[in-house]
């Protein structure tokens, strides 16, 4: 048991969660291996965002066990969870940037809270903004940014402190296709170059296809390139489909496309 727990980044073990009478997650079990991306799919209200909030300890399961980086966090108090959250970066649906702070203060929030000096913070923030290609926006306020830029700032903020685990909550929802592609490429960079474990919640089939068929590597000239290689990509990407709070599918991209399940077929149309 302990071996299994320490060799996985996240484990859901028979998790049950509900709001009052309404059951959101019903006996959900799955695991995320280190360096692996789980693409969590399903219609609206099937418990995808709830799954991410459980990992962060923002919500507590009613029964079952939840392991993050080898620790059983099921009964962790808020103060104990604070330490676990340092290992996790979360990208929220609309970015969830702090309105009263500019991009620099938003991205450097975690470091400012830890008492880091402004110079140190600025160095790291510029690095992170370079990664998401938004260096010019450093002193802008969130209200001055477009939807795509807000998500990218959200990604930069989640990456500060080099978390081992990243959770994406529909980061491409409502974005135009090129911007959505940029966001997926950032997720692939983190998966393939940084070895980050992640859960990627989405209901956009294009995101799933891209994550299952493309990977990022560094070519001979030292440049980052995107290559099409289903085998390489799928070795690091697994798909889980939720329906009414239950896992109805778990497997590779190929298995998902070929699934005979009518719900999945309808979803992938």
């Amino acid at each position: 048991m302990s071996n299994k727990n320490s060799s996985n980044a996240i484990i859901f073990e028979n998790i049950l969660f509900g709001f009052g009478e309404q059951i959101i997650l019903n006996d959900v079990s799955f695991s995320v291996k280190p360096g692996e991306t789980i693409v969590l799919m399903g219609g609206s209200g099937t418990g995808k965002s709830t799954t991410l909030k459980l990992v962060l300890g923002l919500l507590k399961p009613e029964s079952g066990h939840l392991f993050v980086d080898g620790e059983n966090i099921t009964d962790f108090t808020e103060s104990k969870m604070m330490a676990v959250r340092k290992k996790i970066g979360m990208i929220f649906q609309e970015g969830a940037l702090f309105d009263s702070l500019n991009v620099f203060e938003n991205v450097g929030f975690r470091l400012f809270e830890q008492g880091a000096s402004e110079n140190d913070v600025e160095h790291i923030v510029r690095q992170m903004l370079k990664f998401v290609n938004l260096e010019d926006a450093i002193y802008k306020m969130p209200s001055e940014l477009s939807g795509g830029m807000r998500r990218r700032v959200g990604i930069a903020r989640a990456l500060v402190g080099k978390p081992k685990i990243i959770l994406y909550d529909e980061p491409t929802a409502g974005l135009d296709p090129p911007t959505a592609r940029t966001i997926i490429e950032l997720a692939m960079k983190l998966r393939d170059l940084e070895g980050v474990s992640s859960i990627f919640v989405t209901h956009r089939i294009q995101d799933a296809q891209q994550l299952a068929s493309e990977y990022v590597t560094i070519d001979e000239k030292g440049e980052i390139v995107v290559r099409k290689d289903e085998k390489a990509a799928s070795s690091r990407t697994k798909f889980i489909m939720l329906k009414q709070g239950k896992v109805i599918f778990s497997g590779s991209g190929r298995e998902l496309w070929e699934s005979p399940d009518p719900y999945i077929k309808n979803f992938l149309l």
Partner: protein, 256 residues
């Protein structure tokens, strides 16, 4: 959920919120900059409106009481009536009702918007406790600044009464001042400062709790804001009665 259960549940949640944020008083990190910023918003920001309101309240009190007192040939006691009414009752209550409208609603709206746009969750996800960073500075700011503003309001209100006494009622300033000074004792001043401390606490706790429990998007934010103002004002008026009873019981005469 019926009303009784709702009241018990909300009291429990508010108590837990206060307790958890109070832990921030003794454990790091301390949010001194946020606290000073909130004090600036609550204190300096509300000072002009609190003083303006107090001036006219003092003036109206002088006008209203003088005509009644005149019937008994006692208009020289106008200062006494204005000062005691202001220090004991109207200064704390009206200043804090203004604060409930200006600051309490602002807190509920700000925290409510942060809640519905997932900023509160984002803050927790980034390892910061929103109760310590957002709630505690607001409680401290209101508990400290409410009595401070009340003192200003009392002084300006008494001056408002003095202006009316001098100009319209033709009572000499020395008579007004002596009558006001003679009427007040330390017990009144203690009571007049205890009340705004409690009221400030009520405004902060209700505002923060209404904000943090917001659900249902922008409509929810509007609902929380209204609820916070209504609830704060009601609780201020209810607690005012019990506080007055307590202050009188603790007073030199100890009657009632």
């Amino acid at each position: 959920m019926n009303l009784a259960i709702k009241i018990v549940f909300e009291t429990q949640e508010a108590t837990l919120m206060v307790w958890r944020s109070a832990l921030g008083l003794v454990r790091r990190p301390f949010y001194i900059r946020e606290t000073i910023n909130q004090m600036d918003i609550v204190g300096v920001g509300s000072l002009p409106i609190a003083m303006l309101a107090a001036f006219f309240i003092g003036a109206v009190l002088a006008l209203q009481t003088a005509s009644t007192l005149q019937a008994f040939g006692a208009q020289n006691y106008t200062g006494r009536l204005v000062a005691t009414s202001l220090v004991r009752e109207l200064g704390p209550v009206l200043t804090c009702i203004l604060l409930a409208g200006r600051i309490g609603s602002g807190i509920a709206a700000e925290l409510g918007s942060m809640k519905v746009s997932e900023q509160i969750d984002a803050m927790r996800a980034l390892g910061t406790d929103p109760l310590r960073k957002l709630v505690l500075p607001r409680i401290i700011a209101l508990v400290v600044m409410s009595p401070t503003l009340t003192v200003f309001a009392n002084v300006v209100g008494t001056i408002g009464g003095l202006v009316i006494s001098l100009t319209l009622l033709h009572i000499p300033a020395s008579v007004y001042n002596t009558s006001a000074r003679d009427a007040l004792n330390y017990h009144d001043i203690f009571g007049g400062l205890l009340k705004p401390v409690v009221f400030g606490f009520i405004i902060a706790v209700v505002g923060c709790r209404c904000g943090l429990r917001t659900q249902g998007g922008t409509v929810g934010v509007g609902r929380s804001t209204t609820q916070s103002v209504v609830m704060s004002i009601l609780l201020i008026l209810i607690s005012d009665f019990f506080l007055t009873k307590l202050i009188i019981a603790l007073g030199p005469t100890g009657q009632f």
